[in-house]
């Protein structure tokens, strides 16, 4: 089976600022994969997300979705992509129209009103049916992210592109949203592309991971391999720098993480 997303030698240069945001990135995402992209600020994650979603054009290289090029196609011919791929952004407040009711937000990608569909989507993301008639500001950060996810699921996408979806949330809420995403990906047989600066979160959610630095993928592989036996110096550095609760607890309790 051919991959859902094929990226080949992708480069993106921002000429005005003379920045090479992407410097020859290639990878495949297979159907049903949970593909993580991890990197620090300036690594090119956000540029890559924009290109995967055809919200920007590369300087060179290609992006294909389900076997069709999307990097050189005018917007009016991207209908297939717009319904098959949906994005969940970092800041739910910034990505939800504050003057629309939740039911209108969720049904907007459908292009028609469908109270039944809205109700079933709200249920899928764990929100009460009454939420439909309320406005985004009436919800907490975690609840708003649930609304964004419901909207993303509305057109029955095959690919969910999540760009730092839990970075602005508290830890307990973060855990709930991650669990929700994992459940929905399984339930709706989605392919997930999950972008984050947080190694722990990527490890929790993904089965494959690409580590980016300065516009390049320095390491790519199965999550377990990359985390257990990182090959690239930078991956090792990142892993060492990330605060690890288990390791700290083990240190505090004198060597045994198990009785933590």
């Amino acid at each position: 089976m051919s991959p859902v997303i094929e990226v080949r030698n992708l480069t993106r240069r921002y000429a005005r600022r003379d920045v090479e945001a992407l410097r020859g990135v290639s990878f495949d995402v297979d159907a049903g994969q949970r593909f993580g992209i991890v990197g620090e600020s300036g690594s090119g994650k956000s540029t890559l997300v924009r290109l995967l979603a055809a919200l920007d054009r590369p300087t060179s290289g290609t992006v294909s979705f389900a076997g069709r090029r999307i990097d050189n196609v005018p917007e009016r011919k991207l209908g297939f992509l717009r319904s098959s791929m949906q994005i969940v952004f970092q800041d739910p407040m910034g990505s939800l129209d504050p003057r629309m009711r939740v039911r209108d937000i969720i049904s907007e990608p459908l292009g028609r009103r469908s109270p039944e569909r809205v109700a079933s989507l709200l249920e899928a993301v764990g929100l009460p049916a009454e939420a439909a008639s309320r406005y985004p500001h009436q919800f907490s950060g975690g609840q708003r992210q649930r609304i964004s996810i419901a909207r993303a699921l509305a057109p029955n996408p095959s690919v969910l592109l999540a760009d730092e979806p839990v970075s602005a949330l508290d830890v307990s809420v973060r855990a709930q949203i991650l669990d929700l995403l994992a459940r929905l990906v399984a339930e709706f047989s989605l392919t997930l592309v999950f972008v984050s600066h947080d190694l722990g979160v990527v490890r929790h959610v993904c089965d494959r991971v690409a580590v980016m630095r300065r516009g390049e993928i320095v390491e790519i592989g199965a999550v377990e391999d990359v985390y257990e036996t990182p090959q690239h110096e930078y991956t090792r550095e990142l892993l060492a720098a990330a605060p690890n609760l288990r390791a700290e607890l083990a240190r505090l309790s004198g060597g045994s993480a198990e009785n933590a």
């Binding site: 600020s41 830890v171 307990s172 973060r174 855990a175 490890r203 929790h204 609760l245 505090l252």
Partner: protein, 266 residues
């Protein structure tokens, strides 16, 4: 140096908060957004928004800070008492070279201080004195803020989520810088929502929930044998590795489905 907070109350947002900080102690204040962590810190600094008033008592070396005049507080801030905020860009003056900003605590307090280059070099930023904040990265800006906070060798440093906006590798550098550059007898109040960070920095920890301290003790005791339901749930939610093993861990009380703004994004 001693800081004694007793019966601190800010409207309904912080209720009956009491704790003590001795010389050389590093204490963590953990909890979620809206739990009252930052208001507690701002009450100590005398920086609460105009519409909020703190009652109770905050004593620094037996000197009452609540109700102290702005003049008196100004003399303390950036001197005996300093603070590092989460977002370095808003904490710095965008129109002033960083060299001039780091030496501001000296000028404000009428001291003869060390040269800017020396202060900046101490936080790993040699030769940046002529730069403006926008020319530096987020981590570099936070170093500048830290250099300012440390300029007058404060006896109490309050850090409010100082690394939340930073990359992990930069976070590690800033944390070791904070740990390494405080005077031995200076106290640290470290606010964070990251349990791994608190475990690596602090020896004692206070857990806040809905405006109250619900658990306190040595970092080791609180994080390895938590007593309060909320602390247990927070630990469970923070340990993503364990979450993967047992899906559907219970969310902390009040984290979900309560007041609309509860747990809102930062």
């Amino acid at each position: 140096m001693t800081l004694m907070v007793e019966g601190l109350r800010v409207a309904d947002l912080v209720r009956d908060v009491s704790f003590f900080l001795g010389a050389g102690e590093r204490v963590g204040l953990i909890g979620e957004s809206g739990s009252g962590k930052s208001l507690t810190a701002l009450s100590i600094m005398g920086l609460l928004p105009d519409e909020l008033r703190a009652t109770g008592s905050v004593r620094l070396n037996d000197r009452e800070l609540l109700g102290a005049s702005e003049r008196e507080l100004s003399r303390l801030r950036g001197n005996g008492l300093s603070m590092v905020f989460q977002e370095p860009m808003t904490a710095l003056n965008p129109a002033m070279r960083v060299g001039r900003q780091v030496t501001e605590p000296f000028r404000v307090h009428g001291r003869r201080g060390r040269p800017a280059d020396e202060l900046l070099a101490a936080v790993g930023l040699p030769g940046t004195a002529r730069a403006y904040p926008h020319q530096l990265s987020g981590g570099q800006r936070q170093r500048v803020v830290l250099a300012m906070a440390l300029a007058n060798e404060p006896s109490l440093l309050i850090c409010d989520e100082p690394t939340t906006a930073l990359d992990v590798t930069v976070q590690a550098q800033i944390l070791s810088l904070i740990k390494g550059s405080l005077a031995e007898d200076a106290a640290l109040l470290f606010i964070t929502h990251d349990l791994a960070v608190v475990a690596s920095v602090c020896e004692r920890v206070l857990v806040m929930l809905d405006g109250e301290i619900v658990e306190r003790g040595s970092t080791r005791a609180v994080l390895t044998t938590p007593q309060h339901e909320y602390t247990k749930a927070l630990l469970a939610a923070s340990d993503l590795e364990a979450l993967g093993e047992s899906r559907g861990a219970r969310p902390p009380a009040g984290a979900w489905g309560s007041a609309p703004e509860d747990g809102a994004s930062r």
